[in-house]
């Protein structure tokens, strides 16, 4: 039997309370007061993201298991060759690094070379259209922090937006709300590259019309703003010559494979060493080689 006179608050009252509570939340969010609360919720949501991610991951694993030996051998061979080339380059690099430090010392300027990195895997999860935010599987338990720069093997990918204990949201450099201070590698011209919302395009809105810049120029991080360490490649300049334009407009194409990579590098730009990873020894696939402290 259903009780006849159960008193529940009327929907009108409920609505006013809820609307008020939402507005309070929004106001608090403006002041960024709710981070612990959000972290709590996000930890609760994380299994859901893993659930969505798991079929994709399983398919990938399946493909790996059943890939032919010949292909694996091929891949192995090419990787070995690449590694040798990179090693040779590194030999020279360490000598150059030492020289650079000596010269800097002569000039009495401080300059930090070398950051620590950790590999994070992308979760196959879509958040919202029109915003370029991805989720990775390393969070504050692994020492990730908001504002942390994120790279891949080819260039800058973006920065960490929010962290939860086990995952982090990374905003890509092509997001319309993101801007990154860059400089032209050829002549040191500094400017800002803004995201456009398209995955393969950055805009350079703050160039004067007589700026010394050409298509093909490499843009590297300038280190201004303090978020991104100096000297990482970001994009190459492309000219956007339209009909009836006297001056070419310049845009840039990101070097990082933003829509294709599955693994990203979180970079520590701080002097202190990164914290020990929980259970690193017990997880065989946690790629411990990530902690290549340079």
């Amino acid at each position: 039997m259903k009780p006849l006179f159960t008193k529940r608050p009327s929907p009108n009252f409920g609505l006013s309370v809820c609307v008020f509570a939402s507005l309070v939340l929004l106001a608090c969010e403006q002041k960024a007061l709710l981070t612990p609360f959000r972290e709590l919720f996000a930890s609760a949501i994380y299994p859901l993201q893993q659930l969505v991610n798991s079929p994709v991951q399983a398919a990938r694993k399946f493909g790996e298991v059943f890939s032919s030996q010949a292909r694996l051998l091929d891949e192995n061979e090419s990787l070995r060759r690449e590694q040798m080339l990179l090693k040779v380059k590194l030999l020279k690099f360490s000598a150059l690094e030492q020289e650079n430090l000596r010269l800097r010392g002569l000039l009495d300027t401080s300059f930090k070379l070398g950051e620590q990195v950790m590999i994070a895997e992308l979760l196959a999860v879509n958040l919202v259209p029109y915003e370029q935010v991805v989720v990775v599987n390393k969070g504050s338990r692994f020492g990730a922090y908001p504002g942390q720069p994120v790279m891949d093997a080819n260039g800058v990918v973006g920065q960490v937006l929010r962290v939860t204990p086990y995952s982090a949201e990374v905003i890509l450099i092509t997001d319309p709300n993101h801007a990154i201070p860059v400089q032209v590698n050829r002549n040191g011209l500094r400017t800002i590259a803004q995201g456009t919302g398209q995955i393969d395009k950055l805009s350079l809105p703050y160039l004067s019309s007589n700026a010394d810049i050409q298509a093909g120029d490499l843009l590297v991080t300038s280190g201004m703003g303090g978020v991104f360490p100096q000297g990482y490649p970001v994009a190459t300049v492309v000219a956007d010559t339209g009909q009836g334009k006297v001056f070419a407009k310049f845009g840039a194409a990101p070097l990082a494979k933003l829509d294709r990579n599955r693994e990203l590098l979180l970079v520590w730009n701080k002097p202190d060493p990164i914290p020990r990873v929980p259970g690193q020894a017990s997880t065989p696939k946690g790629s411990p080689a990530d902690h290549a402290a340079k």
Binding site: L26, C28, L34, A42
Partner: protein
């Protein structure tokens, strides 16, 4: 009595979890633009079917989780969901009486209201796209409404929720 109440809660919760999974499905980018707000669609169904169990307060809680799920500011979905569910609870008798194909229109309007509220609150943060395709999730949501309605009605009858 108690058992059926718990069962109801579990079934509704499970269906909402399914909706959340659908919401963040890794679809290709061209398709994801049309991905409707499954969580709200499921909520609308439950608000129409069992308005005395699913109310504005529940909608608010689900909205906050939706905010966290999709990386919005906390309160955006919460506000929109509570307004939409309020309308559903108020008009549930009328909405129930419509045949299924006629329900599509009010559902479309409700989804638009939801998107509009989220759009407004988003604009506190910064400018946003105003292209027509931005509103396509609402249309897609309205188009899948009959399927959702029939599926959830089957679920509801199977578990004997009234």
């Amino acid at each position: 009595m108690l058992q059926s109440k718990v069962a109801t809660k579990l079934v509704v919760l499970a269906s909402l979890l399914v909706a959340m999974v659908l919401r963040i499905l890794p679809l290709p980018k061209e398709w994801f633009v049309y991905n409707p707000d499954w969580v709200l669609l499921f909520l609308i169904y439950w608000a129409i079917a069992i308005p005395e169990r699913v109310g504005v307060g529940h909608a608010w809680c689900v909205g906050v989780s939706s905010d966290v799920l999709t990386g919005r500011m906390l309160g955006q979905h919460a506000l929109a969901y509570s307004v939409v569910v309020f309308v559903c609870v108020k008009l549930h008798t009328r909405l129930r009486a419509y045949p299924l194909y006629q329900q599509v229109l009010p559902v479309f309007l409700l989804l638009l209201v939801n998107q509009l509220l989220i759009f407004w609150t988003q604009n506190i943060k910064g400018a946003h796209s105003t292209e027509l395709i931005h509103w396509s999730p609402s249309l897609a949501g309205a188009l899948v409404w009959p399927a959702i309605f029939t599926t959830l009605r089957r679920v509801r009858r199977y578990y004997n929720i009234a």
